[in-house]
Symmetry: D2
Subunit: 181 residues, 4 copies
Amino acid sequence: MSVRTPDPNPGWLPDFALDETRARVPILYVEAVPVRINALGQVESIGILLRGSSTTGVMTRTLVSGRVMHGESVREALLRNLAKDLGPTAFPQLPASTVPFSVAEYFPLPGVSTLYDPRQHAVSLAYVVPVSGECNPRQDALELTWLTPEEAANPEVLADMEGGRGALLKEALASVGALPQ
Amino acid sequence: MSVRTPDPNPGWLPDFALDETRARVPILYVEAVPVRINALGQVESIGILLRGSSTTGVMTRTLVSGRVMHGESVREALLRNLAKDLGPTAFPQLPASTVPFSVAEYFPLPGVSTLYDPRQHAVSLAYVVPVSGECNPRQDALELTWLTPEEAANPEVLADMEGGRGALLKEALASVGALPQ
Amino acid sequence: MSVRTPDPNPGWLPDFALDETRARVPILYVEAVPVRINALGQVESIGILLRGSSTTGVMTRTLVSGRVMHGESVREALLRNLAKDLGPTAFPQLPASTVPFSVAEYFPLPGVSTLYDPRQHAVSLAYVVPVSGECNPRQDALELTWLTPEEAANPEVLADMEGGRGALLKEALASVGALPQ
Amino acid sequence: MSVRTPDPNPGWLPDFALDETRARVPILYVEAVPVRINALGQVESIGILLRGSSTTGVMTRTLVSGRVMHGESVREALLRNLAKDLGPTAFPQLPASTVPFSVAEYFPLPGVSTLYDPRQHAVSLAYVVPVSGECNPRQDALELTWLTPEEAANPEVLADMEGGRGALLKEALASVGALPQ
């Protein structure tokens, strides 16, 4: 398909090429809400990432997310991004079906839609993913906190979620019957 | 809710009461297709139960299934019936959502619908359930065989499924993207 | 299946038989959230039923719901109950799939679960159903009001919903991407 | 987001830019299986597109499909592509939820996956869409035929589907309970 020489990082793009591509087509992402479940499958806690900005010092909350690379399957992208954000010992249980609980659409201008991403028009396939191991984000700036469904649905927590993802988190909770009244 | 004395087997019904009830309302069931999945969540094999009839000697194939008892939640019924049919070391990973891949409707007359159950009008919530442990059916007459998606979708296997469940098995495979071409 | 003579109201049960059955097995219901959608499929308004109690004068809000009768399919039950609660000119667009957005479990004791029904243990398959015609509830005590997603998600409206159905309504809104932030 | 002058065809790309983009990222598509349903929501027939190749004369079967443009929502892309392939009087009933029945992944090499697209790595959100009006493809080379579920599931029909879409069509049928035994 490509005349490029074999790439040590297939799917990776230099910055200028990614910027150019972002102006041309919607970019496909996968997104995951890590959860701990009990033996009955009920969600007991939700893993939210905390990211500190080195320049502004402001903390924002976010979900596991990342691009689907060229040539990569949705499942591979999901597993790779879970490993990137939760570390190698999280032991995520990937869903048997790739049908997401939500198709999240991010537009580059705030106010146009609930979800926004200043970098691009992104379309994200979002999954609830049970994890059974230890989660240790590999990036220094990232921290994982476990919240109960009640804590996660707190309006202040939801308002802190990056890019309007509070709405997506509520959909995630609703999809597993864990949205508090 | 009830004036009965506390019941050592809550939800259990004597035969005459169950027969009477079956003539009055549709009976709610849960049904499970046990699967083994790989790290990417892809289904590698499907567990099908083989049941020998002591009177006729005929073997039929079926899925994990059982009634939802009075007072029991759908999740509890699913876990109980998985333990009943797969044994205590199957380690099923119950889904985080109780939305089934199919609502299977069984009518008591063959030919009226694809699925039938000579005993009753039953409505069954059907789930694909990954299991990670050893499966050992507790009942003597029951045996579990693991088939690849290709083997499970074989028309002869599907035709052997009790009550027309071949159609339900195909829906299960389709719901996880494992229905062969 | 039955030795009864053919029944002019098949599936109908005398009160004593229904009471007895309710003490024995969970009763299967269907439930519908009627919506008006635009050409893009986006939900613009949600139909909520208002029911006045003749004895207490208290108004409660509820959804379209009703039992699945013996011998009746889930689709037939959904269509019949939509006609019962919205009248003959509602023109509901029944979903092509019978997979519900939620399996709603009602237990007879308040506090045990979010959803409760003092009469019984009920399990309800819940659907969002677009309607394109005029809705006129046939029962005198019933009135239909159309609310925007924002109005429907108002905590006061949700708290007025019978049997804890505010939680179910929020799940319905989330399932169609219409749950306000 | 872009320094380009306002575009009369926003999202449209010149051929060289589209080719370049296809080598960089997976391209997002929407896909639709048009169906006719009865009052109960049951699928009675499925619309399959027949496309004649002007150069080879070979007929292939396909589904409604097209790219999601930059800045366009998934719903807008679905509506636009339905109009493109079925004409302006098809009256499609877009789903209230944008969750697809399947996430279809097309890779550029045949044999790598069930679905393939020689032009690109494409990821397609696939929907079953009831249509109530007259369907008249606007392109000369395209014709729409209506098949019963039994006819559509015929192995010869499935094998004629472009890019391995026979597998996707079977998933569509399974998702609405219309996959023949």
